[in-house]
Symmetry: C2
Subunit: 464 residues, 2 copies
Amino acid sequence: MFPSKTYLTRRNQLKRALKSGLILFPGNGESPMNYADNWFPFKQDSTFLYYTGINGIPNLYFLIDIDNDSDILFGDDATPEEMVWTGASEPMADVAAKSGITKIKPVKELDAYVKQQIQMGQRIHYLFPYRADLKIQLAELLSIGTGEVNKNRSIDLIKAIVAQREIKTDEELVEIEKAVHTTVAMHTHAIKNSRPGRTELEIAGELQSIAIGAGGNIAFPIILTKNGQYLHKHATQDILLEGDVVLCDCGAENAMGYTGDMTRTFPAGERFNTLQRNVYDIVLDAHNTGISGLKPGVLFKDLHLLAAKKLVEGLTGMGMMKGNADDAVAAGAHTLFFQCGLGHMMGLDIHDMENLGEKYVGYTAELTKSTEFGLKSLRLGKALKEGFVVTVEPGLYFNPFLIDAWRAKGKFKAFVNYDAVEKMKNFGGIRVEEDFVITESGSRLLGKPLAKTTDAIEELKNSK
Amino acid sequence: MFPSKTYLTRRNQLKRALKSGLILFPGNGESPMNYADNWFPFKQDSTFLYYTGINGIPNLYFLIDIDNDSDILFGDDATPEEMVWTGASEPMADVAAKSGITKIKPVKELDAYVKQQIQMGQRIHYLFPYRADLKIQLAELLSIGTGEVNKNRSIDLIKAIVAQREIKTDEELVEIEKAVHTTVAMHTHAIKNSRPGRTELEIAGELQSIAIGAGGNIAFPIILTKNGQYLHKHATQDILLEGDVVLCDCGAENAMGYTGDMTRTFPAGERFNTLQRNVYDIVLDAHNTGISGLKPGVLFKDLHLLAAKKLVEGLTGMGMMKGNADDAVAAGAHTLFFQCGLGHMMGLDIHDMENLGEKYVGYTAELTKSTEFGLKSLRLGKALKEGFVVTVEPGLYFNPFLIDAWRAKGKFKAFVNYDAVEKMKNFGGIRVEEDFVITESGSRLLGKPLAKTTDAIEELKNSK
């Protein structure tokens, strides 16, 4: 974790922003797989992590009492019985001290403490609980129904947190870059070790072992698929065949919880074929266009539309689209091939702060999120600021269901040559994704550069 | 999955056992990591899996209406929008048909259907929900508070399910053995690839990749540790050193959800030292004693106590214990070194049916579970039957906290030579575990035999 000063500073900034009330940050509990005591890997809540730095310990609650300027960690020391099962664990007092927290209380005192503060008229600020166990706990703590828990969340708290977490500090960038380095290692392995005859899951398992071996885990379920036309298709037991194009979208989280997120698309065999190369180059052009536009003040939504225009121009060159590119993008015709967004915020979460709401993280009161197909999947639209960390990940996805459905409806027929597109229904999908921090004048690539052109990917793939 | 006949037979047997009422088996949903849409790997509920065979699809509900002899699957076909993200998915009608279910309804009709049946006086049988999201859903469905959900679970249903699931059929044994084969491959890799300088997590990651590559995943969090004195200590970033003894307890679940569970203990370097060999041989003796006792009619609790006696005799031979071995076991003195149970049921869950309650799975009305330290961690006590699948996993664990605490209290000082034990506080722990099916006259090892003696382990470890 960072020095305690980091967390003290973060908390003081939050207190100044909220001015009054209690802020409750519950840490995550264990998440059961198939019975109460068989757990998925422990994953700490990112906001709890941001303000305390305490990772790897379930069932903690952190309470900031702004009016009394008091930070309290509610947590229990391991009992001798528990030490039989899991060994020594650090005393709560030491855990708290590393985070600059001097007050600790047993968890069983949380309920009375909070209820008393409520009686005294204190407002409790808390976030939307994305896990159901916490929803039940909060309902009991606040004496409300589980259905009311979300309604009563604190929008002031959300806004204050977003304002802090969206700007990554230098010490955070070091950690994010560690996660991206591991992510680069995963992709390098995927490119070199995917070959005809192997299953998607065999390779996905190897990528996860790299993330675990680096001291963390995968930041999200690995997408490694010969069916990249589907945006979030996870690895299966499908066998890779000569001629397949493989889309790998994966990322590591490091020991401190910071994440990386990259995509490479590469041939299962030794070489791309000509069609794959041509489509790849269109995506890469859109990717590079997106990157060149990254700088403070630019609306990410504008970059998204600019990248979409590049895709349309490329597809027009290949005879799959027609007409004026600006008009096609304005109409949304590109969403037949590019159904999602250009990128998203990244940090302690792979879609950073998605649990706080894209309305607050990716948009503003003035720039609200579109409800149109395509744009509604753009998680980030607002103006970039120095310190934002974002992904840039355009793609072309030839989804046979969508092609059939829209062709039948004659949708966008002024812009789409369906006869040409028809031939692409077995093509798959191509995406290229990297992570950038917004600098004073532009952006900086995070992580070591990894082969990105078709030539460079083939060279890497066929190297020893 | 098995042919539909298997599931029809299982359901008919259950209907005959319960005679009347509605049985509700909710399938699992996705389990969120750090926001609602970033998920842990999907894990289907084992009982849902047992009666339907439907894996890999979240948010299904299976309802058996005994009185109307009607089996209904509540599930929704993927929308075209969802297919943009995850691709084609099998229509619900086809999914249901493979399980021999002819009635399907949209999920949104579940609530009205169940509420109507309740109004008509039907009893709803359901199990204790080990996930909080399901607790909230059931509370709403049954119009009760979340606190009452567990209280109203059906004990009749639990008993009927245990009676079925505890006896493994031949077709189930084939699947369990597949999982054990993968588990053997994981252990072989661990023994051969653990060496001084590597971290626990590096090796644990590689083991997980083997389980994933085989089409399933790990059945429980991997224990791979140089601190085997703690029973459930998971892999860390600790570096293995020459002289360390490494305890690896891991298992795969296969594509159908059946599991394997084995433990091997081996040197980080090329050889065990003499002390490690001596302690290992005591554990192996207890392990073999446990195995030889496996047969129908024998109380597993008696085998546990017999293995404990072997451990006491071995420790007495090494000067760490003293006095009469039977008296020591009766007093519980062995629990200073063997704090847990000899084994547990295994099947679709690694601790099979643990969510149904050990009271019903491992014990009977006549033989109830002890509350004493040690015996209270024995998950299985009752008489073995042909078709049970159990683990046999004795161990010796030199837990420094427990040694210090009990020495200070003078606990069991008639049986323990604390001066000799004191020297073992840095030793670690040793466990040997394999999986067996109870046969008509004894037992059969599941999976291919894996090196088990110290000599055989060293030979495997140092082979090319």
